[in-house]
């Protein structure tokens, strides 16, 4: 085949290669995405955590998988998250609820290299549109279930047993357990898994995430001093963390609650 682009293409390709980024726009965009990630990673439900597809080993999804049976799909979920982002910045809601809306919740985790090619197909499919309050983690499990999938190509196998027992998988399970407790409004129940993680994986891959979650957990429990101390420690240990906005937000929420409490007195 012809190895070079043809003549008319050359100038256009150069324009693409040499396109300059508008740095002010990129800076704003980066800040917004960072801020949203900070909240949404800490708020990932276990269902979503299990649902993120394998990376580049996965075969490309079949074209039908994303949209088949797509009536009523909520395309605007991402938009909704963005719309809610300023609300989160105010600390009015937690990130836990919002991530139940994540568009890719209906995707199963896939084994990386052991599955046949067709099974390694990793579709990213939207979940049906549901009102926020109507979705619970168990609903997401149902959406994840092969039988509930709109397309047969979604019927993929669960992660291989060996994957489930890696240190990373265990770390994730512990943090997911904590997140789930926070999502249920039972932050007390989330402290146990976090402590277990801290003991078993003092230098684990997810240490930074654990510490950020702990601050949120303590803040949700109203343990102001403990939350503040842990937040300060967090900032010292992870001065350039992705989770800084979420940690600061949790502390700001306590402060506001205290101010509101005092003003009622």
């Amino acid at each position: 085949m012809n190895n070079q682009p043809q003549p008319n293409s050359a100038a256009l390709l150069s324009a693409l290669r040499e396109a300059q980024v508008n740095s002010a726009v990129e800076g704003t965009l980066k800040m917004r995405v960072h801020s949203r990630l900070s909240v949404s990673i800490l708020g990932l439900t276990p269902a979503l955590s299990a649902s993120i597809p394998a990376a580049s080993n996965a075969l490309v999804a079949s074209r039908t998988s994303g949209i088949s049976g797509a009536k009523g799909f909520a395309v605007s979920k991402g938009t909704l998250i963005a719309w809610l982002a300023p609300v989160f910045a105010l600390g009015v809601l937690t990130g836990v609820a919002v991530d139940r809306w994540h568009p890719y919740s209906a995707v199963k985790a896939l084994p990386h290299s052991t599955a046949p090619a067709a099974q390694r197909d990793a579709p990213l499919s939207p979940q049906p549109e549901l009102p926020l309050e109507a979705i619970s983690p168990s609903d997401l499990e149902q959406i994840d279930a092969p039988g509930a999938a709109a397309s047969p190509s979604l019927a993929v196998s669960a992660p291989a047993a060996s994957d489930a027992n890696t240190s990373l998988a265990i770390e994730r399970r512990l943090l997911d357990e904590a997140r789930q407790a926070l999502a249920r409004g039972e932050p007390q129940a989330g402290l146990g898994p976090l402590d277990r993680h801290a003991k078993r994986f003092p230098k684990g891959v997810l240490t930074e995430e654990r510490e950020a979650l702990a601050v949120r957990m303590l803040a949700a429990l109203g343990q102001s001093d403990a939350a503040t101390a842990r937040a300060e420690n967090f900032h010292r240990r992870f001065p350039n963390s992705l989770f800084t906005p979420a940690v600061d937000n949790a502390i700001a929420t306590i402060s506001r609650r205290n101010v509101a409490g005092e003003s009622k007195l």
């Binding site: 324009a15 693409l16 990129e26 990376a55 938009t79 939207p126």
Partner: protein, 172 residues
């Protein structure tokens, strides 16, 4: 094996690459923010599994492609791209302002728009990111022959579009 890169550093250094790639893959308007968020969410989750012996960009490209593809498919389904004006959300950066516009760039983006998403991905990865085709095939998890045939189709469509645009220019 060296430890995986820190997410925050990766985010800082590769944000520009990811957003530009998304734009070239056909994501535009306010969607860039949403799709970039989803790409980095997946990257965060999979970073501990990243093989540090390999280059990072093709790995990121794989995420960007798959998420952009599904986002576009969904947008097409809703006729959103055709019917809704772009960039209406208050405060959201105008994603088409992400790149400093020029006439040539505008034409190039129009020409890219004539490609199917999967052809477009191979074309961008090979022609712009200069990845050899076997690496493109791996990043996109497609067979080598498929990658070659997509590149062939993409080049032919891109050239045809470029020719039309040049002809239009002359008749002005």
């Amino acid at each position: 094996m060296s430890p995986p890169p820190q997410f925050r550093e990766l985010f800082e250094s590769e944000f520009g690459y990811v957003t530009r790639t998304l734009r070239y893959l056909g994501v535009r308007g306010h969607e860039i923010e949403d799709v970039a968020h989803d790409v980095f969410l997946h990257v965060y989750r999979h970073l501990p599994e990243f093989d540090t012996a390999r280059p990072i960009k093709p790995w990121l490209f794989g995420f960007a492609y798959r998420i952009a593809r599904d986002f576009r498919a969904l947008a097409r389904h809703r006729h959103e791209t055709a019917c809704e004006p772009q960039n209406l959300r208050d405060g959201a950066p105008l994603a088409d302002d992400l790149l400093v516009q020029s006439e040539a760039l505008e034409q190039a983006l129009k020409a890219l728009d004539t490609l199917e998403t999967d052809e477009r991905a191979v074309f961008i990865a090979h022609e712009l990111d200069e990845l050899p085709i076997p690496d493109v095939a791996e990043a996109l998890a497609i067979p080598l022959n498929t990658a070659y045939s997509r590149l062939r189709r993409a080049r032919s469509k891109f050239e045809a579009a470029a020719r039309r645009l040049v002809a239009q220019e002359r008749t002005r």
